[in-house]
Structure formats: structure tokens, C-alpha cells
Subunit: 93 residues, 2 copies
């Protein structure tokens, strides 16, 4: 999967603006971008989406569909834990 | 605003299941409930929504509309900071 064609930004531990920049680059090339995160990074995904939406609103972009879900992950003690996920779309209105 | 009529659960620092219980009580009396949080609590709001939706899916409830936003807050050093917000609806399909 090349950087040029993927339409998803996964939120991790980098500084917030790194993900904002990735999302803006993708919106320069594609009609929409999905910002995804899970667990502790979910709040940061909302931050990134809000910043990107604010920076691109004059160009007609806005927050689109928002989905939440959960994934079963095996933790280090061998137990299965559910972790919440979020997916926020930014798209041209 | 009495406990009986409000349809919103604000997520704070209590144990997760306290908010799950509040939401379930409200769904026993009202057709929908809104789970709200801001900043660091946003991930926990998604956790609560997922647990409530899973516990009530057999009764026909599911995650409804999800909204994100931001609020300007004045921090202790007098600067204005933006904090992200989320609002997740759980409703009968």
C-alpha cells in the first residue's frame, strides 16, 4: 500500500501535527480521508479531525461519517480484552 | 434538571461501570441517551457507548448519531485552549 493511494491516517504516538499534515496531504490528492485510532489514542483522533476540518473548511471540507467499534486484543497476560476504536471521515461537502 | 428526565451522561473520572449503569437506567425510562465527554475522557465515552450498546443490542438498541466538536477553554495560565468534545447517541433502532 503506497503513501500516494491510501486514504487512512492511523493515530499513534507522534506529535499531533504529524497526523494533521498527513491528512492534509491526502486531502490534496483524494476527496476524503479517514482518521482511525483505538484505545488511548481516540481522543487524539478527535483532536486531529477537528484541526483538519478547521483548516480546510474554507475549501469546503467537513467532518463526515463517524464510526465507533471495538476489537478483541490479547493482552500480555493471555486474556482477551476489548479495545474501542474510532474512524472519522473528513470529506468535501 | 432532575435525574429522572435528563437524557445525557457526562463522562468523568468515576469507574467506567458507573456511567454504564447511569446510561442503562436512562434507557429504561427514555428512548435514547447521549453520552458526552471532552478531552482526555473521549476514549472512555467510546468505551461506555460500546458496552451499553452491547448490553442492549438484544433489546434493539444501537449506536446512533455521533458528533464531534471543540470548545474553547481558558487554561490556568490565562491562555485559551481548544478541547475536543464527543457526543454519542444510543437509541432504539
Amino acid at each position: 500500500m503506497s503513501t500516494e493511494t491510501r486514504d487512512t491516517v492511523f493515530i499513534g504516538k507522534k506529535p499531533l501535527m504529524a497526523y494533521v499534515t498527513s491528512a492534509l496531504i491526502q486531502l490534496a490528492n483524494l476527496p476524503s480521508v479517514n482518521i482511525k485510532a483505538r484505545g488511548m489514542s481516540i481522543g487524539r483522533a478527535v483532536d486531529v479531525a477537528q484541526i483538519v476540518a478547521r483548516k480546510t473548511e474554507n475549501a469546503g471540507y467537513a467532518v463526515g461519517e463517524i464510526k465507533i467499534g471495538s476489537e478483541a486484543l490479547e493482552s500480555q497476560d493471555g486474556k482477551t480484552r476489548n479495545v474501542s476504536t474510532i474512524e472519522i471521515e473528513i470529506k468535501r461537502n
